[in-house]
Structures are given as structure tokens and as C-alpha cells.
């Protein structure tokens, strides 16, 4: 209920602001809604949203898997940490734009280049978070698992993974928001479809209703995925924790 209320306040603020700014700069909600419906009718909206979502899913999965594996290794093996650390610092501080442009130059304006560039941008944060998680693993539980001769897989699933899960959730959460932001830039610069591409087109035509229609649809999808997928997943992971008052 409070969520709905805050959404209504936002809508009202937008409407009032559009009265002051004028239609050209900030069209009121109904105009944007009309543009949205037109795009949805033609199927373009869903096509571009779908393409963007697929890119997000691929890049996110790739970066999470690779990042978790590398981070775990760096947290557990000293040598891996020493070897990987300079690269990690470099990647962490490399602007997203540099990675995207270089990827397009070296691998061409291809799907592979786009997804790789997005994944590389997200990778280092996943590595850093999972490395912290691996460092914080409880040695006493490790000893328990050793004494009771838990098989490797069981130990991983029941002893190690639950300890890493808050870190995985944190990496996923921050990583997802990063990917949402970067995917549009990658699309704008070198893809012939996707929400980023459409926003680029709208920008060139100065078609603000179209621009807002795509931006808001995209935001709605992000919100939907957050509430329907990410938050329930987090709640499930932490169900054994005593609830905060």
C-alpha cells in the first residue's frame, strides 16, 4: 500500500512538472502512455524489451558464474589472490565506456562483443564480493565437516554455499543494477535493436514521448524482476535468520 502511494505521488509530481515545463520538454503521463500503447500494439516494445532482457540475462549469468568462481579461488588461494589482484583493481576502475568501445573495435559490432563487454563490466564487483565471502568462511564449521567426513559435494552444498549466499545475493543485487545501466549504453553504441537502441533513435528524433515510453517500460520490467525474482530469492536464503524487530 505505501508503495502504491509513493507511485501515485511520483505520477502527480510528473504531471504538475509537465504543466510548468511544457509539452515539448516533459510530456504529461497520458501522452507517454499513448506512445507506449502504440509501440506495444506494433510489437516493437516487446521485441526490444525482449532483446535487452536476453542480453541482460546472458551477460549477468556469465559474469556471476565466472566472477563467483574467480572470487572464491582468490579468497581461498593466496597465490591466486596475489596474481589476480592487480587485474581486479584495473577492471574495477576501468570506465564502462572504454570496455564497450574497445570490445566493439576488437570483436566488431557483434552480439558477442556486446555481451562480453557488459559481462566484463560486472565481473570485478562479483569477484570482489565473493572473495570477501570466501575469506569470511568459518574455519570451525570446516573442521566439523572434515571430522565428520562429509563428502566434497555435500560440504559445498550444506556448509560452504549457505555461508556464501549472502555474498552471492549482494553481488547479484549490485551486479544486476550495474548490468541494467550498462546494457543500454552497449546497445546505443553498437546494436541495431534493444531498448538502448530505441532510446538512441528517440534521442536523435527528439521524440521525448517515445524516449520516456521506452525508459519507463524498461524501469517497470526492472522493478518487476526485482520484486518477483530477486527479493523472494533473498528472503528464502535468509529464512533461517532470526528476524529483525
Amino acid at each position: 500500500m505505501p508503495r502504491l502511494l509513493s507511485f501515485a505521488v511520483l505520477l502527480a509530481t510528473w504531471w504538475i512538472a509537465s504543466l510548468f515545463a511544457g509539452d515539448a520538454k516533459l510530456p504529461p503521463p497520458p501522452t507517454v502512455l499513448t506512445a507506449m500503447i502504440a509501440e506495444a500494439r506494433s510489437g516493437d516494445l516487446f521485441f526490444h524489451l525482449g532483446v535487452t532482457l536476453a542480453r541482460v540475462a546472458l551477460a549477468f549469468t556469465l559474469a556471476m558464474t565466472l566472477g563467483a568462481a574467480i572470487g572464491y579461488l582468490m579468497g581461498r588461494v593466496r597465490l591466486a589472490d596475489r596474481l589476480g589482484d592487480p587485474w581486479l583493481i584495473l577492471l574495477l576502475n576501468l570506465p564502462a565506456l572504454v570496455v564497450i568501445v574497445l570490445a566493439y573495435i576488437w570483436a566488431g559490432l557483434t552480439e558477442v562483443a556486446a555481451i562480453a563487454a557488459i559481462a566484463i563490466n560486472k565481473l570485478p564487483t562479483a569477484v570482489v564480493t565473493l572473495r570477501e565471502g570466501a575469506r569470511a568462511l568459518d574455519a570451525t564449521l570446516d573442521e566439523m565437516a572434515t571430522v565428520f567426513a562429509l563428502p566434497r559435494w555435500k560440504k559445498f552444498r550444506h556448509v560452504i554455499l549457505p555461508q556464501l549466499s549472502p555474498y552471492i545475493a549482494a553481488a547479484a543485487r549490485s551486479g544486476l543494477s550495474l548490468v541494467w545501466k550498462i546494457v543500454l549504453v552497449a546497445e546505443l553504441l553498437g546494436r541495431p535493436n534493444g531498448v538502448g537502441f530505441e532510446i538512441g533513435v528517440a534521442f536523435q528524433l527528439f521524440d521525448i514521448p517515445l524516449l520516456l515510453a521506452y525508459s519507463l517500460s524498461f524501469a517497470a520490467v526492472v522493478l518487476l524482476i526485482e520484486t518477483l525474482l530477486v527479493q523472494p530469492f533473498e528472503a528464502r536464503l535468509s529464512r533461517w535468520r532470526p528476524r529483525a524487530a
Binding site: T140, L141, V147, F148, A149, L150, K154, H158, W240
Partner: protein, 242 residues
Amino acid sequence: MRLEVDIASKTFKNAAGEQHDVIDGVSFALDAGEVGVFVGPSGCGKSTMLRILAGLDPDFQGRVSRPAGARIGFVFQEPRLLPWRSVEENVRLVAPLADEAKLSALFEILELNAHRNHFPGELSLGLARRVALARAFAVEPAFLILDEPLASLDAALAARMRDQIAVLMDNRSMITLLVTHDVDDAVRLGDRLFLLSPRPARIVAELPIRTRRGERGDAEIAAIKLDVMRRINGDPSERESA
């Protein structure tokens, strides 16, 4: 089946790089069905010794021969349960072969039946300790290690748990090693007592108790306790006559 231990020495390096001797000559042997109890002042190196015996710390001078492939049941001083698994899952995880009948018997004795689905975070220390006990017994160990299982519990609860442990030990023939600083627990549960010196630990006396565990009378227990206390505190007259 026999446990033979001969630890010549164990040293630790602390963060500042200084060397500390923790164990200085501990050798003994235990047969299946025997309960060996180690009594010593806190911080004397008992827990370090247990970690060596369980194979968790290979860095020491000496030799430990455990029966090959012996299953170990370990009750750590802190319960070391998995907080994200329920009581029952914690037990089943390490003992996948234990059937329902065996588990319920175990939970019955330890009064855990009502807590099967609770998470460890919802349990008191006494309950968590009992879950750790259930876990150690559920694996049907050939070698059972109990590290201060009754420490920091109130006297009534400790006494009840001690009786539960005694019941559980009676039905099994395994090598049992109990570490405690409580002489009363030691005398009531053990078959052979080993008294340890302050750090670095060494065995200062070995006292076999001839009477079976269940048949010890109060007078006998009191007499043994007195003997142990005297040896620990170094009664002067005792020292002269020895």
C-alpha cells in the same frame, strides 16, 4: 580396535612469531569400550590435543594411530551446528545412513523430539549441545570425542545431560575420549582418568576406575574425587609420602 597416542610435543607460533609449547609428552592407549577422561586446568592444551587426535592438526611431533577408517564423532566445545539447517537436518547430514528408528531413539533420550524442525539460532546452549551430541552419536562412531560437553550449563541441566550421555555410552562399544575440567563429571563418566599438568600439557597421573560406571556408589565416587583433587592441588603430605 585401539587408539594409541604418543605426542612428544606440539608448539604453536602466535601472531607475534613467538613459540609456545602446548603439549609436552602425552602418551596413552585406549581400547574399544573404554572411556578415557582428561582432566586439566583450562588453557592447558586439551582442545589442541583433541584436534590432533581427530586428525585436524597434522603439525606435531609424535604419533597417533587411530583404527583405520574409524568413524569419528566429535562434540565440540561450541556446538558448531549449521545455523541454516534444522536440528534434524544437522544430524541427518552427517549420518545419512541412520534410519528413522535410530534417530527417534536418539532424540528421545536427548529430549530433542520437540525441536526437530527448529533452527540452531532458536535453541538455548543446552539444547544446541544436545543436538551436537545427537549428531556425534548418530554416526555410530568408532571413536567418540567430547570436548567439555557440559561446560557453562547450570548444575541441574549439566547433571541431566551427564546422565543422558551415560545412557548413550552404555549401549555402544567405542573408544571414547572426554575432556573436562569438572572432576565430578570425570569420575562419574570415565573408566580411566588422565590428569594433565598446566600448559604445556603432560600426563601427571593415570587413574583407572575398576568399578563399572553404573555401579559406583556415592562413597566411592567421593573417595576417587578426593584422590583426584589431592593430586591436582598437590597435597604436601601426599608428595612427601610418594
